[in-house]
């Protein structure tokens, strides 16, 4: 059987955190993915990647939340749930600790998401036209007034 370095099992857990952060994932799930007991897994993960697994999972979630704050107009509560966290209060505390400002204040330091989305001009033109019915009604109204 081919030799598998121990870190390969830990990488599987790290990949799981990266891929499934949006789900109610915990350290137990990560330990299971690595095929290790929870205590042993936490020690080995920290040794391999320099931080405990719960911290890695949390920072992955916070990183994704920061991206959603910059690139979407969803509310802070929606973003909290979207990255797999349940409590908006805890999310706000963790986010503030990690990024130095609250989610709302963090969002305010960037241009609005609608600008960042870079919706192309052809789409703007197509969707900003008033509907023909609306224009016809107004024209009919103007004609009636004349």
């Amino acid at each position: 059987m081919a030799f598998v370095p121990p870190a390969r099992h830990l990488l599987r857990a790290k990949d799981l955190a990266d891929a499934r952060y949006a789900e109610p994932l915990g350290v137990d799930d990560l330990a299971r993915a690595a095929g290790l007991s929870r205590a042993h897994f936490s020690r080995e993960f920290r040794r391999a990647f320099g931080e405990p697994p719960h911290a890695y999972l949390l920072t992955r979630r916070l990183e994704r939340a920061a991206a959603l704050l910059r690139t979407t107009d969803r509310s802070v509560a929606e973003i909290c749930l979207a990255v797999g966290l349940q409590s908006v209060g805890s999310f706000t505390t963790s986010f503030t600790r990690a990024f130095g400002r609250s989610p709302t204040a963090y969002r305010a330091t960037f241009p609005p998401a609608s600008l960042q989305a870079r919706v192309p001009m052809c789409v703007w033109r197509a969707y900003s036209r008033p509907s023909r019915q609306h224009v016809s009604r107004r024209q009919a109204g103007a004609a009636g007034a004349a």
Partner: protein, 141 residues
């Protein structure tokens, strides 16, 4: 130098599509903004983690004034037949991805099979858009 930034797919329902692309395919939301000045048009873009530069815009089929009813019906008909768009994906482990996506309820049109260019399989999104997922082999020089 030209690069592909976004490609667009029509979808029947943006919420349903969002759930599929993020929860089943495991992709990330790249943009999600609703613009009142454009009649509440929603620009929703997703993409695979690790490939930041390319996104797929999941666009709701518009009505007037963007599309007249006949055109809208044409687009819906083509989507229903699976001819409205396709995305070709590559992976480093098609069998693992197939098992994972199947377990999450993705509708596969073909299981992984050996082809001259590698192993690939096919699936659809909820709107009927076609996807190919291929693990490519290096071709002899």
């Amino acid at each position: 130098m030209m690069q592909i930034a976004n490609a667009q797919l029509w979808v029947h329902d943006q919420e349903e599509a969002l759930a599929f692309y993020t929860e089943k395919l495991g992709w990330e939301v790249r943009a999600d903004v609703t613009l009142p000045e454009m009649g509440d048009f929603r620009w929703l873009a997703v993409g695979p983690a690790g490939q930041e530069g390319v996104s797929v815009v999941l666009m709701a089929i518009p009505g007037q004034p963007v599309m007249d009813e006949a055109t809208r019906a044409d687009v819906e008909r083509l989507m229903g037949k699976g001819f409205a768009g396709a995305i070709f994906l590559t992976t480093d482990d098609v069998h693992a991805d197939y098992e994972q996506l199947k377990a999450r309820g993705v509708e596969f049109t073909e299981p992984p099979e050996q082809r001259p260019y590698g192993i690939d399989c096919g699936f659809r999104d909820p709107s009927g858009n076609t996807f190919r997922l291929s693990q490519l082999v290096e071709l002899p020089v």
